[in-house]
């Protein structure tokens, strides 16, 4: 099923390993270059900026091709209007095949054609079925899964995960009110089953190039599991889907369960992540904790925002400070020392950018316009920007 050469896929893992070993200081730069020369790999872009640039260019190319086709077809054929998007999708898949044969993988250009093909297919089905969501999700899921199996394209696997969840949702909607009521529990069960299913898949895996393809749905299930029974999500969705407006003094059914779920699951993730040394789960747990806090603040304003921010900052500082103090000298296991092999410090480079966005100074407003305006509204941080 895979269009790519299996040797190249194996080499991909080896070259990645060589890169990490080089940055860890285990092998020299010359040795790394030698390894790269010895092992042929795909035409790919590891830099995200460059890949994004090629994705944009690829999309331009793809849409201009579609434009040319429709220009010809519309002038001659009346029924082209009905099949146009199928043709566009075919162009996308054909382009993806062509690029894959020329050994493009993770380059940006191939992303444009694969994702473009999938989304055009979705639009085509939508037009044929007049927007029947279940059928659209079904066909998009099939197409994206085939794309993944053929090109090992991770982004289409993500599309597949979302489409599969959409099938579950719209499928339950078919059952009317009962389906909508059991939706959170069904989604939770679905996520749990597939989490353990993919986990088992990873444990039994022998080919390295399928590893990321199992890791992604695995992490997706974690996120879905948390969101499925999060109090905010459940309450808002039930308001939208069932029209259940929550009256004052009342709460949604099983509210206690959902509250407990909202708080227990992130903590569970955190503990489990630290126990099994699972970095992805750790990050998901951070995000989940953040979202749980947001959930509470969404319904109950426990503290005024400025006090909450200040106190939150202090608490977070204390947590970080004491953890650093405790972990500073550890040589094995959990530690504060940077890992020589795997370091996730990409965000540290973005720090300066975030500071500039949040606290950058703005030019002053001329006092003549309004005596209340004064310079540097940005001083006071995100919340009050521009309001001075």
């Amino acid at each position: 099923m895979i269009v790519h050469d299996k040797n190249l896929l194996d080499n991909l893992a080896l070259v990645e390993e060589a890169d990490t070993l080089k940055s860890g200081g285990f092998i020299s730069k010359e040795q790394r270059d030698l390894i790269k020369k010895e092992l042929p790999v795909f035409r790919s872009q590891s830099n995200i900026l460059v890949r994004l640039g090629f994705f944009l260019l690829g999309s331009f190319l793809y849409s201009s091709m579609c434009g040319t086709i429709s220009l010809f077809a519309l002038s001659g054929l009346e029924f082209f209007f009905h099949i146009g998007f199928y043709v566009f999708a075919a162009v996308g898949f054909f382009g993806a095949e062509l690029l894959a044969n020329r050994q493009y993988h993770g380059h940006g250009l191939d992303d444009a054609f694969i994702l473009g093909g999938i989304s055009n297919l979705g639009v085509a089905i939508a037009m044929t079925t007049e927007g029947y969501e279940l059928v659209i999700a079904f066909f998009v899921a099939i197409a994206s899964f085939i794309m993944y199996r053929r090109f090992l394209h991770l982004l289409s696997l993500l599309v597949f995960c979302i489409a599969a969840t959409a099938i579950l949702f719209y499928g339950l909607f078919e059952f009317g009110a009962i389906g909508k009521t059991i939706l959170p529990f069904a989604a939770m069960l679905f996520a749990a089953v597939f989490y353990f299913f993919t986990k088992k898949g990873i444990d039994n895996l022998t080919q390295v190039y399928y590893y990321k393809g199992l890791l992604l749905p695995n992490s997706f299930c974690l996120v879905l599991f948390y969101l499925s029974c999060n109090y905010l999500v459940v309450r808002e969705l039930s308001a939208v889907l069932l029209g259940n407006e929550v009256l004052a003094g009342k709460d949604i059914p099983f509210a206690v369960f959902f509250y407990a779920f909202t708080f227990v699951v992130p903590v569970l993730y955190l503990v489990q992540a630290l126990r099994t040394k699972d970095r992805i789960m750790l990050w998901i747990s951070f995000l989940a904790i953040g979202f749980s806090i947001f959930t509470i603040r969404f319904y109950y304003s426990v503290l005024p925002i400025e006090i909450a921010l200040t106190l939150g900052g202090l608490v977070l500082f204390a947590i970080a400070y004491f953890s650093i103090k405790k972990l500073k000298e550890a040589e094995t296991g959990l530690t504060f020392k940077p890992d020589r092999i795997k370091n996730s410090d990409a965000f540290l480079n973005a720090e300066a950018l975030i500071v500039a966005s949040a606290f950058g100074m703005k030019p002053e407003v001329k006092p003549a316009n309004s005596p209340m305006d004064f310079g540097g509204g940005g001083f006071s941080g995100g919340g009050s920007e521009g309001s001075f």
């Binding site: 070993l21 030698l34 640039g53 390295v208 900052g313 020392k337 795997k342 606290f359 004064f374 006071s380």
Partner: protein, 331 residues
């Protein structure tokens, strides 16, 4: 722990690409089973600074009339003093090269102290008009404080605040979100000139500091600001109706040429990619302006047909450019 990592090292050994010794060393290190929370905890520190200073900022803004001014000022002043005291106590003093604190917490303390100082000065000006009606001073002084902090403690985040302050003094807003919305260049032509001047000044400063070896690792930040300032100012003036747009085309060409060279020298792919993007946008606007004078009513079909070919040509060109860059920085 991922079982495939070890497998990959093993097959590198089998292919004779790494030596037995190296493999042993790698395996021994992996057996330590290290799980580093370095980046995560630093992120926490960073977030805590952002949350705390935002909180303080809003607190002061909301209670500007209720709590006593002296109380606010003195509390702020005390916090700032405590922060700076720890930073000075533990710093190695000013150094011309890159330095780091032994304790990473201090790096974030510097940031907090600096932001709080800016709030402090802003508050002073707002409440007491400490700088009279010289409103420029209220921006300039935090800028100077930030620059000194950035250079003394070697802090990149503070440096970006300082640069935005400098731009604000000139009359520009160069926070990333404003640069993306870039509406300040449309409204006033004069601002474009100041933006370009500021960009050129930043470039000159990097040249000067590399000559005297002063914090050369700051260059990339200055150059990033300069690139975006000059390019966005030039591009937004390319659609000007007056003949002046030709001058801006020349500016854009010149800056692209400069950044082409400097990105190779610094091995900075982010500069390189953005330079290409801006140059490409500029080139397309130029093409459009030229074509706008030709009557296309008869051959517009041909134009649409040529479009895919044009994009294929651009893609080939870009692939070449990126390949060249990667080859040259590898040497």
């Amino acid at each position: 722990m991922n079982k495939f990592d070890d497998q990959a090292a093993k097959s590198l050994l089998d292919k004779n690409l790494i030596t037995e010794n190296q493999y042993q060393e790698i395996a021994a290190y992996r057996n330590l089973n290290i799980f580093s929370l370095n980046a995560e905890l630093k992120l926490f520190l960073y977030l805590s600074v952002l949350l705390f200073t935002s909180g303080i900022g809003i607190l002061i803004y909301k209670n500007i009339d209720s709590i006593g001014h002296i109380a606010i000022l003195s509390i702020l002043f005390i916090i700032i003093c405590v922060c700076f005291y720890y930073c000075f106590k533990n710093s190695k003093g000013f150094q011309k090269t890159e330095t780091t604190f032994e304790n990473p917490v201090l790096e974030y303390l510097v940031l907090a102290a600096n932001i709080l100082t800016c709030i402090f000065i802003g508050y002073l000006q707002f409440q007491y008009e400490a700088f009279g009606t010289h409103y420029g001073l209220a921006t300039l002084i935090p800028t100077i404080v930030s620059f000194s902090c950035a250079y003394y403690f070697d802090n990149k985040s503070v440096l970006t605040i300082a640069i935005t302050g400098l731009a604000a003094y000139v009359g520009l807003s160069v926070t990333p979100q404003d640069l993306l919305n870039n509406n300040n260049f449309y409204s006033e032509q004069g601002l474009s000139y100041s933006a370009i001047m500021l960009g050129v000044f930043l470039i000159l400063w990097t040249i000067y500091s590399s000559r005297i070896n002063l914090k050369t690792h700051f260059s990339i930040i200055y150059l990033t600001f300069a690139l975006h300032l000059i390019s966005i100012a030039a591009i937004s003036n390319l659609i000007n109706d007056y003949i002046i747009w030709l001058a801006f085309a020349v500016v854009l060409a010149g800056s692209s040429y400069y950044f082409y060279n400097i990105s190779h020298k610094l091995k900075a792919i982010s500069l390189y990619v953005f330079m290409i993007i801006y140059a490409y946008i500029g080139f397309n606007i130029l093409l459009f302006r030229v074509f706008a004078n030709i009557d296309f009513s008869d051959i517009w079909m041909l134009f649409v047909l040529l479009l895919p070919a044009y994009f294929v040509g651009s893609i080939v060109l870009f692939i070449k450019l990126i390949k060249n860059f990667n080859k040259e920085i590898a040497e």
